[in-house]
């Protein structure tokens, strides 16, 4: 068992997809992820994120803005849940809306976390830790 641990650690990608059309939000999320030693793959709108996901599934998690040009975050979640190779990736949605119906729709689409703007650095870091921690349970369930 002890011998397996380093191997399992290597197999878990330390890459996170971040899609947001707001450069301030992208920078904030990227900074927080880099502090936790994650590599960040950036997309500046929903279509760019979709194109990345079509060819790349090696992500530990995805952090998606709800409202983006071309494709919304929730549409990307639905796409990810419909593709076997992307199903295991936990997704967090960030939104400036605090509407309960919107939150419910993101969870029913398959997101595992929801972060409402404005958020504090503590809230951002906690949400990211929770998201990255949830990956293992999703992988086990998949």
């Amino acid at each position: 068992m002890e011998n397996l641990r380093p191997k399992l650690k290597q197999e878990t990608p330390r890459r996170v997809l971040v899609a947001d059309d707001d450069p301030v939000m992208r920078h904030l999320v990227t900074t927080s992820l880099k502090q936790q030693d994650y590599e960040v793959v950036l997309a500046s709108d929903g279509r760019e994120a979709y194109r990345i996901l079509q060819t790349d599934s090696q992500f530990r998690a995805a952090i998606l803005d709800m409202t983006m040009p071309f494709l919304e975050g929730v549409d990307l979640v639905r796409y990810m849940r419909s593709e076997k190779r992307l199903m295991r990736i936990p997704v967090m949605i960030i939104s400036a809306e605090r509407d309960l119906k919107l939150m419910a729709s993101t969870f029913s689409a398959g997101a595992v976390a929801f972060l409402a703007k404005p958020f504090t650095p503590d809230q951002l870091q906690s949400a990211i830790r929770m998201l990255l921690g949830s990956g293992s349970s999703i992988r086990r369930a998949a």
Partner: protein, 149 residues
Amino acid sequence: MKKTMISFSANNDLEHGRQVFRPAQAAAIDNDAVDMKVLNAFEELQPDDGSDLIVELIDLYLLAAAQRVTQIREASIATEWVLLTRVAHNLRGSSANLGVRKVAEICQKLEWMDRHDSPQTVAVQVGLLEYESARAGAALAAVRQGRLV
């Protein structure tokens, strides 16, 4: 936080279809344009590489906000409500997160507006947005300058 009252008068000019507001005391920059407590909270995310996250956030915000305010003005003139509300929503998110509250509040009002609102009502809010955005820009530029010294 010290608050300095700025009175401003709306003149009756319409510049490209929008109400123009001119600060009565242009020299005075009031400190309530940016909630420094919110902005300074990001100190805890400062990287160890010597860069200044807050300066970087200010730079990104100033560039993006200027573009978005222009987009909002153009969308209001063209009565493109879908575009206007989308851009206002986007600007609200980053403004609220960095403590630029007045801009965030006006963006929220703009998001609620639709084709039923008169062009004059929208123009007033767009004018206020430009005014508050300029105030916030000046305040953030001062913060940025202070951090670089």
